[in-house]
Symmetry: C2
Subunit: 336 residues, 2 copies
């Protein structure tokens, strides 16, 4: 992504997020707002850009809006809303996964307890949708209600994906079909909402809006397949940093799920219990021999092609269109 | 409430709720929908009317719509939405309070674990707002977006009230002012949304809609003050069923908070630790002597008067208007 988008967009996004949090402005709620500000990386120990994450989703909303011929400023309420939805889901994910750290800092539940953290997530969920309604001020009548439906459907799909993820951890019987459904809900649905919302605010034609939506969705799917591949065959996973291997953490990612369907030596070893650091290289080789790498590469490649084709159909305009293509390349590891 | 409203409204509400849940219709999600259907009292052991609760909130939406001159059927999406919001908050409350039972049945977290229960609540939150958007089909353009803002603000206030409740349990330093704010968020805000949404769908004038909103809000406040009073001086609390006394459970209700501000014998005993069943009658008498009963009675009476005055200003129409008055009397224990 070109540096100018970071310097133009990011301060505008942060300001819009701050306005959203201030929608809760009653007295006696300083600590309540502190929790939200802490999670968003503005306050508390370790606050700063590192603690905020990359704000990829709101940037995609704004780039899409501009690339679809709109004024990116008009899409700021939607950009803030998707970032708040993303962060609501992170706060709840951290409780569900029992994760003590997020972006190098203690998670909200670690700092304030599970009960308050559940509530902080709920608060961010409500604030996300209130933020979105500010589209009434920046857009034509009828846009805000369409945007609301797009975002709420993405939230519903998030919870569907999360259900599958949690059920899978508990029972371990996820099919390849259910894996794609899970990734579609957990990762791709919100990215699809980002690009669709940007195009909606820009008043793109129905076909262009659908192409932008499809681009966001396929981008999310391709990103996850790519991420699963690197989790086993990436440099960090295969070499010294063995702790980064999905084989060690036991994560049932796409290659592993494929390997299990083959009922070969890989499946036999995997079902025997936790993998040791010393076994990682040989097990990765075994999984590759049984087709796990090729299957995942083919899937990532197919999803990437779909994303690129959808983006071409969307006919993104100008510098922002170029930036959107560059961002997609970056997320899919296609640079350099 | 007259029996005809139960027989007309309740089946329509249940049907609208079922349609809302079916908005999640992807495959592989049977268990996900089972969780929601279980909590709503439709499925699983003990399913039935008892497990569903009284559906007071959606009934208030429909009665208000009719009493404001509208067609109650048009308000069904809003009625389902408030009931889903209420139940989303119950699912999360039960986790936060570590409650094993709800309406005599194991809570969602007891049945499916905390992680899935957090997610089931989130799902119900998203479904509530998707259900609300069906107002686009039953109402004029522009109504759904106004309704969305009303409901999301109520959700925000719910989380503000819940924050104060949880913070109060943890630190115990709630002021009387913060108590009213907590009740305003946890109980009154959603009731205010019920009556405002009913009036909105009926296209009531701004002043009537505001009066209906105020009625719902004051009704919630009065109900809570009344409930707090009965929790110490009600028959069940004072006599044999001592387990029902808020003095025994240690709940810092309105009379207790008032008593603590008096720094008298009551406050001295209360701060020494848990109360025994044998002390309940004498401690209730002490709190009464220090003004706790009179203060709470005055508050309940003031809020009840406000509710009745607001309802009079709203000029409710017809049989449904009478039913709304009767329902308010019933909730405030003013019958017989």
């Amino acid at each position: 992504m070109k540096i100018e988008y970071a310097t133009t967009f990011l301060p505008a996004i942060e300001e819009e997020l701050r306005q959203a949090i201030l929608l809760s402005n009653s007295p006696n709620l300083e600590e309540y707002r502190n929790m939200l500000a802490y999670h968003l990386g503005w306050e508390g120990e370790g606050a700063g850009p590192e603690a905020r994450g990359k704000r990829v989703r709101p940037i995609i909303v704004l780039l899409t809006c501009a690339a679809a011929g709109g004024e990116w400023q008009h899409a700021l309420p939607a950009a803030a809303a998707v970032e708040l939805v993303h962060n609501f889901s992170l706060i709840h994910d951290d409780i569900q996964d029992n994760s003590p750290l997020r972006r190098g800092r203690p998670t909200v539940w670690k700092q304030w307890g599970v009960a308050q953290a559940i509530n902080a997530g709920d608060a961010m969920f409500a604030l996300a949708h209130l933020s979105l309604l500010r589209l009434e001020e920046t857009s034509l009548p009828g846009i805000a209600i369409q945007a609301s439906r797009i975002l709420q459907l993405a939230c519903l799909h998030l919870t569907e994906g999360q259900f599958l993820d949690l059920a899978y951890e508990a029972h371990g019987d996820l099919s390849l079909e259910a894996y794609w459904q899970m990734v579609g809900g957990k990762t791709a649905a919100l990215l699809a909402a980002c690009t669709e919302l940007g195009a909606l605010v820009a008043r793109a034609s129905d076909s262009h809006r659908e192409a932008f939506r499809q681009f966001g969705f396929s981008l999310g799917m391709a990103f996850q397949a790519q991420d699963d591949l690197l989790g086993i065959w990436g440099n960090a996973a295969l070499t010294g940093k063995s702790a980064e291997s999905d084989l060690l953490s036991g994560k049932k990612s796409l290659p592993v799920l494929y390997g299990l369907t083959q009922n070969g030596a890989f499946a036999k070893r995997w079902t025997q219990g936790p993998v040791n650091p010393g076994e990682i290289q040989s097990l990765a080789t075994q999984l590759e021999a049984e087709g796990g790498l090729a299957y995942t590469q083919a899937a990532a490649s197919r999803m990437t092609d779909q994303a690129i084709q959808a983006l071409a159909e969307a006919q993104p305009l100008g510098e922002e269109g170029q930036a959107l293509i560059a961002l997609a390349d970056q997320l899919l590891g296609r640079q350099g």
